[in-house]
Subunit: 220 residues, 2 copies
Amino acid sequence: MQVAIPLYDGFTALDAVGPYEVLSRVPGAEMRFVGFEIGPVRTDNDQLALQVNAELEQVPEPDVICVPGGLGSRALLDDQRLLGWIRHAHDHSQWTTSVCTGSLLLGAAGLLQGLPATTHWLERDLLAELGARPVTERVVAQGKIVTAAGVSSGIDMALRLVQLMHGDVAAQAIQLSIEYDPEPPVDAGSPEKAPDSVVELVRTAAATRGEQPREVARRR
Amino acid sequence: MQVAIPLYDGFTALDAVGPYEVLSRVPGAEMRFVGFEIGPVRTDNDQLALQVNAELEQVPEPDVICVPGGLGSRALLDDQRLLGWIRHAHDHSQWTTSVCTGSLLLGAAGLLQGLPATTHWLERDLLAELGARPVTERVVAQGKIVTAAGVSSGIDMALRLVQLMHGDVAAQAIQLSIEYDPEPPVDAGSPEKAPDSVVELVRTAAATRGEQPREVARRR
């Protein structure tokens, strides 16, 4: 099973590494980190770099695509090289997946027209503008397309994918090997669960990062 | 707040990226990926590389140390350069933390003598051989040392650390920003919860990877 994870400047590390950590444990998995050019690619906060080991076109038809999100996704909603790669890969994939705002790129590539899908909770409106029907589930499987909510949800998404591909025992074995027995010390993991004041805090912090996601969408 | 995460050949990516994704969201956090030399460092499965951006000695006294685990940790239980760095950094740190078999390195550095600590469930015996008192909690805070269980537990550990440092609202805001509202599709995240057959499957798979962790420990 060949798995391609496209990296781009400003991706969110956990979006990519969560699914990688799960899917790389499927026997025979070949993980490919693809991008615009070979070399290090920096994350959204500019404090970490992961290595791209193949250009997009060198891995044209992976079995599984997993598109991570991140602030950098906004600059790519018009990028025909990446969107063209996503479309071609999706035409041949067994599974086409995304984490967080990675689904905006699936949407921009035209893959989500009229379909239920999810993204980071702050970007549900933009996902709708790109043609999808946003839902609040953490992992949304629609045919061979599986989208996941914000950042950490890629772990759940990838376990779900293993379950769909190989059944419960495989998913259990990988869950156990990464000891995924979550125990967050607070219970504010979704806007439905967090106190309103915390939701506003995070919303304001995101807005003051100077992003204009809707303007980007309109510019298309 | 300066956070140093030492990377070494054969580390496990999620061990490092989970805490990074949480701690980097603390306002003013400066994340440093340190190592034996600057450049890419490959993970345990050799399918991904993260970038080291400073040598160990260039970041001698970080506020927070977070030591990831991985198969490569075994080869370093004798490494005086890394263990010396850990000891010196710990002497000056506000918090000294580990994920998964990263605690074996804390133990080998002499930090865990007689203390309760945790590690990946497969390595509890080795942790005991290194002087600690293994417990089965997911996150173990003992003074300024915080150890976490296998791989994915670094996310919970880092949220706990944020809570200890900055209180509930900060932990809630970061949990919400990474949408950490776990929903694994199966419930086998610890050896206590997984079916016995799955525990045996994972144990056998780990053994056939050809590791001899106990021999490494005895060789010390």
